[in-house]
Amino acid sequence: MRTLTYWQAISEATVQCMAADESIFIAGEGVDDIKGTFGTTKEAFARFGPNRVIDVPNSENATAGFAVGAAAGGMRPLLIHTRADFMFLALDPLVNLAAKWRYMYGGDKGGVPVVTRGVVGRGWGQGATHSQSPHATFAHYAGLHVAAPASPADAKGLLVQALTGDTPVVLVENRNLYPLTGEVPAEASGIPFGVGRIARRGGDVTVVATSLMVHEAERAAGQLAERGISVEVVDVRSLRPLDDRIICESVAKTGRLVVADTSWARYGFSAEVAAVVAENIPEALTAPVRRLALPDSPAPVSWPLEEAFHPGAGGIVEACLRLCGQAPGELPALADVAAGFQGPY
């Protein structure tokens, strides 16, 4: 199969869906920019032009409301935020209107399939308001689908699913995934929401993760293999619906659970995954669940603080070792993700 980068996979999904369905359009601040939203909207703009790839004013609330109205009128909007932190300004139309539309008009008048892509993750000292990952905030509310693809293939498949369904969807994309390569099917076929995948098989510890953390878990698993610990990495792919079964089956096998996330622990992804296990198979746990998430402060800027703040493979390794009763000891240093940074921000 061909190999694409994550951003190319998103671009391909977008272009294929737009070619197949005239009603799809893209709206977002600067989506027509030459940089094309980390490359993801560039080809769409080149092919479909400014009538379907629409630069909008800096009005996140009205733009989301506009998308709801366009969707009610038969269109399929794809909204993009270059920082998901801006989506707080679009929360009302997404959570109080789009998510509830189908239900509160009786369930039989159709939904408003507004698809929103929000870019998350740490950058280059982006700080407190430009590196948050608000997926749990959206996933708390019934009526939305929320997904966080980790691989290029999932980035394509979940976006295709979103653009062909009738439910409002929030997709979070960690910016550090854009250069990642992987095999991606040529055709535009959707991956259903609510179906996780085993990213790596193992028998000693389960690491449940999403988005960038799946890769950090895989890096950690590689290291741990050298210490004789076999890690199973579960990529849930979507947060709502959440694939409870795949989580429970893995934990039933390993008896140990680490949850890794790029947001805070409290009331977050790591809380929900732990709850799913506590609710279904608490007896399977042979050790306490470990949550690897953001420490309880806003994101700092200074790089040593930023390094310490953001969870990564190192923390996962340590959590797994502890769960398996081994001392952390010396671990090979992991590369600084922002090394050699030259922009964009």
């Binding site: 009538n51 909008v56 004013p57 009005s59 609330n61 009205a62 733009t63 989301a64 409301g65 506009f66 998308a67 709801v68 109205g69 366009a70 969707a71 009610a72 009128g73 038969g74 269109m75 909007p77 009302d92 139309p93 109080n96 209107l97 539309w101 189908r102 239900y103 509160m104 008009y105 009786g106 369930g107 039989d108 008048k109 939904g111 019934a142 009526g143 369904g165 009738d166 439910t167």
Partner: protein, 327 residues
């Protein structure tokens, strides 16, 4: 056949009779368990504007939804059943008074978060225009909603995209119990703000149904011709309490001077329209009385119907939260 102008009066009378009857039942029965914002006294805005639309135009509103729903031709029985929380309601009891919809009539939805439907109408209008159709979207909202940032954002977005959207502000001087003077500075008007955002805008006496209608026709022509968005600022007044069936002036709640309310009641849009029509048609008062009887029967019939209808099946509680997944 009633002439166009008589039709405007008739539609107002119908809404008045429907709402007054509903208010009585609401208060006496305590069976319509849904917060309800009556438009009694404000009928000219809904009727004047909606009569200028055609079915293919879409109307959105805020919480004060009954009058535009009915003026747009929304199904009365389905509305009343919705108020009673019945499966036969237009939103199958999931939405209540604040979430009415009748797509066949072009009533595209109402919502209770202030300002929320304003950009929605811009999006629908833009979608219409993009499809090359000479259709407009209309959005009703109050003076209070214009303080929400999304109002300004929507004006700008509509102007820059030249969306065929008609913004209808029913300025009834209050937001719940807060007078407009406590919320907006004296001097510039809502019309002025629209113009400064690049939206053509006029102020009209919102209790003069003929003036509203004329203005709405002009506005909708402007929209359909591709000349961009338009705003009508309509001065009007609600007679009842903000939410619920009662009157609240002079009852000790005191946020509205009794004299003010009475002066506005004296400017009743129905009385004024009848006054105008009487010059051509001296029998108008009898006609109005006949309509009152007719619509009284209609609404009582709708209430009886609604009461007979079953509640939604509790087993279907979750239905409609998500698109049904084909299995």
């Amino acid at each position: 056949m009633t002439s166009g102008r008589t039709r405007l009066l008739r539609d107002m009378v119908r809404i008045r009779v429907v709402e007054e009857t509903l208010a009585d039942h609401y208060r006496d029965e305590q069976e319509m368990r849904t917060p309800t914002h009556f438009s009694i006294g404000q009928e000219a805005t809904a009727v004047g504007v909606c009569a200028a639309t055609d079915t293919r135009d879409w109307v959105y509103t805020a919480h004060r939804s009954h009058a535009p729903y009915l003026a747009k031709g929304g199904d009365l029985k389905a509305m009343v059943a919705e108020l009673y929380g019945k499966q036969a309601g237009c939103s199958h009891g999931r939405g209540g008074s604040i979430h009415l919809i009748d797509r066949a009539a072009g009533f595209a939805g109402s919502a209770a978060i202030l300002g929320e439907m304003i950009p929605v109408a811009v999006g629908t209008a833009w979608a219409f225009a993009r499809g090359g159709e000479a259709r407009a979207a209309v959005t009703f909202f109050g003076d209070g909603a214009t303080e929400e940032g999304v109002f300004a954002e929507s004006l700008n977005l509509a102007a820059v995209r030249r969306a065929p959207v008609l913004f209808v502000c029913e300025n009834n001087l209050y937001s719940i119990s807060s007078p407009i003077g406590a919320r907006q500075p004296a001097g510039p008007t809502i019309r002025d703000r629209a113009e400064a955002a690049g939206v053509t805008a006029v102020q009209v006496d919102g209790n003069d149904v003929f003036a509203v209608h004329e203005a709405a026709r002009t506005a909708l022509r402007h929209c359909r011709e591709g000349s961009g968005p338009y705003l009508l600022e309509l001065a009007t007044y609600r007679w009842r309490e903000h939410v619920g069936p009662g009157f609240d002036h002079g009852d000790g709640q005191g946020y509205r001077p009794a004299a003010e309310t009475e002066a506005w009641i004296a400017r009743c849009p129905i009385v004024r329209a009848a006054d105008v029509l009487r010059e051509q048609d001296p029998g108008i008062d009898r006609t109005v009385a006949e309509w009152r009887a007719l619509f009284g029967d209609e609404i009582r019939g709708a209430i009886a119907y609604a009461k007979e209808q079953p509640f939604p099946d509790v087993a279907a509680l979750l239905d409609g939260a998500y698109q049904p997944v084909p299995r």
